[in-house]
Symmetry: C2
Subunit: 367 residues, 2 copies
């Protein structure tokens, strides 16, 4: 069963159980992901720009077109999009892909464009022009309110390599102590490198030890398009009366920090964060500490799903701290659990998809 | 009340009445609209490229950003988007904007991108690369099936200047006698010019008197991105079990012709065309004749709504044959009527929106 932490309300879980949620995946890129060693979400720094589009294509279609290989490491650790796709299939829910601002866009899936731009390296102190962040905010709010007319429950996930670094920077810019408390897709979180990058970014943006209360300033100087994309869709949906699950790890703490500034208090009867055990168990991060500092009345759902009993080493790697989150995986797993889908059903769907990808990988490596 | 022609089924109307339909507006441009005199959907041939984006912005937001003026002629004849916005407001339904392929995209509304391209002048005989038409088809089908999970009834409209000319060309390319039977946004339909352009296009495409049965060939040689965008979304929606109303005039006959080739027979219990009185009464066109030739078992809804009793000359101009259709106006009016909304309610919402635009127009012309 899904674990409920903080102030998750019964009525929130009841709505999640009873309506058909809509999964919204928000994509983006930041040139911060080009910094060597900062992320493992891509075979090389340059290829990280392809990861969000590939994730969306895999999620929706079960195969990628923007990259010519299956979305997994050469030794078979798959993208979280594989788990997310398995969840979406067993949940039988609709998916909408949103591009907040990305260098590479999906080829083979229709997506909603918020007319943002890809983020620059945050060490410039000018990640996005302020008017671009405002445009993402305006378009995202409109989108959220339209989507809320289509479903009473939005699960909003993200895909943006180096997103935990930009998240750390945004939280610190807004006055929270996020130094070294964000998670990582790697079992060895490059905490010192992230702190160095964030320090440089804040210094350049003149925000080091001088936090701002303006979330648009924080995101435009040291953030990324996805943080504002997710926040804005959530705002539109909440205003239109829908409930929202922010599906992700420590990046969603940054989204929550932005939402708190834009909306005032957040009602745990209307919005929660949903993530994986792997994030909560990550000793190099502090998701609960961060979230409770940002949102005292926080609501957090944690999936208990494990891949420890999988037949495949590539999947078992998740239990050693690889991947952990992304592409809405945690929130979707929570939704499965809340809706009474047992772990065996999820696991066999995950393994079925995994087998197909391993076969494709083998065919490529033998040709 | 809405007029039902052909084989419209009772259960179709019941679903339209009982569920919350989703309005999908498909935008595109074709360089065919640059031919002087072929369309009045824009103050100059070049400005026709801005019309679809402006329509979408007005429809969703009630104001345009891609053009600096209200979307109406200087003497106050408004875009059909004004009537469509009024309908969407009284219906209280969600809207999704889709770009099939356009030179100018909306700034201030989120939209779904099918990753198509703007259409070339059809006189080239190469309006769109075949692979682009296939991409629109593939992405549109996926989108339609996702949208069908969100609403059981899709109303699909279009905005593409010179769309009746490309529609004529596509229908003839597919072997239908559409010569001079398509309608126009002008009270003086430039029939001879359209026929000349279509003849040149078909000749260049080697389709004159040599029709094809391949709708992808017809659209790629002499069509536009919107015809395939609308058709593909309809296919995805129908496959996923939703009902579809093709909201438009003679352009939707071309969509129907494409659908017939791609799907075989069309079930009037699942799909219909919805348009305005103004199109049916257009003596320079032959919507019913065209539709019944393409789809013997056709289902057509016609709105009885009139602007004859409006206080405003700009609106009364619709009764003299200006505008007639576009931006899903006819289908949305039919939906209002089917759902029991009386003409007085629609008219007062239309006049309320019109007054706001006239005020804006006056402010511009006095500064």
């Amino acid at each position: 069963m899904v674990k409920l932490l903080g102030s998750v309300s019964e009525s929130y879980i009841r709505v999640l159980r009873e309506c058909t949620p809509l999964f919204v995946l928000v994509l983006g890129t930041t040139d911060t992901s080009l910094i060597p060693g900062i992320t493992i979400a891509g075979a090389s720094p340059e290829l990280t720009h392809y990861t969000p589009a590939a994730d969306a294509e895999y999620l929706v279609n079960g195969k990628c077109e923007v990259i010519p290989v299956p979305p997994m490491t050469p030794d078979g650790k798959p993208t979280p999009a594989l788990i997310s796709r398995a969840c979406a299939q067993v949940l039988d829910i609709p998916i909408m892909v949103v591009v907040a601002g990305a260098r590479v866009r999906p080829c083979s899936v229709p997506y909603i464009d918020l007319r943002g731009e890809p983020g620059r390296d945050i060490r410039t102190g000018q990640a996005l022009d302020r008017q671009i962040v405002e445009k993402i905010l305006n378009n995202g709010v409109k989108l959220g309110s339209e989507l809320a007319r289509l479903s009473k429950f939005l699960i909003i996930g993200e895909s943006i390599p180096a997103g935990t670094t930009t998240a750390m920077a945004v939280m610190i810019a807004l006055g929270h102590n996020a130094w070294g408390r964000v998670s990582s897709a790697s079992p060895t979180n490059p905490v010192e490198l992230k702190k160095k990058v964030v320090r440089e970014a804040l210094q350049r943006a003149d925000l080091l030890d001088k936090p701002t209360d303006d979330p648009i300033e924080a995101v435009s100087k040291v953030g990324d398009p996805v943080i504002m994309g997710v926040a804005s869709i959530a705002i539109g949906a909440l205003r239109a009366g829908a409930r929202v699950l922010l599906a992700g790890g420590t990046q969603m703490c940054a989204v929550t920090a932005v939402l708190r500034r834009l909306l005032g208090d957040l009602d745990p009867d209307k919005i929660a964060v949903g993530t994986t055990r792997w994030i909560i168990e990550d000793k190099s991060a502090d998701m609960i500490g961060l979230l409770s500092e940002i949102w005292s009345n926080y609501a957090l759902l944690v999936s208990e799903f494990s891949l420890g009993s999988s037949k495949y080493d590539g999947l078992k790697a998740y239990e050693q701290g690889f991947v952990k989150e992304g592409v809405g995986m945690g929130g979707l797993l929570c939704a499965c659990e809340a809706r009474g889908i047992d772990h065996g059903t999820i696991l066999s769907k995950v393994e079925e998809l995994y087998e197909k990808e391993m076969l494709a990988l083998k065919q490529i490596s033998t040709t």
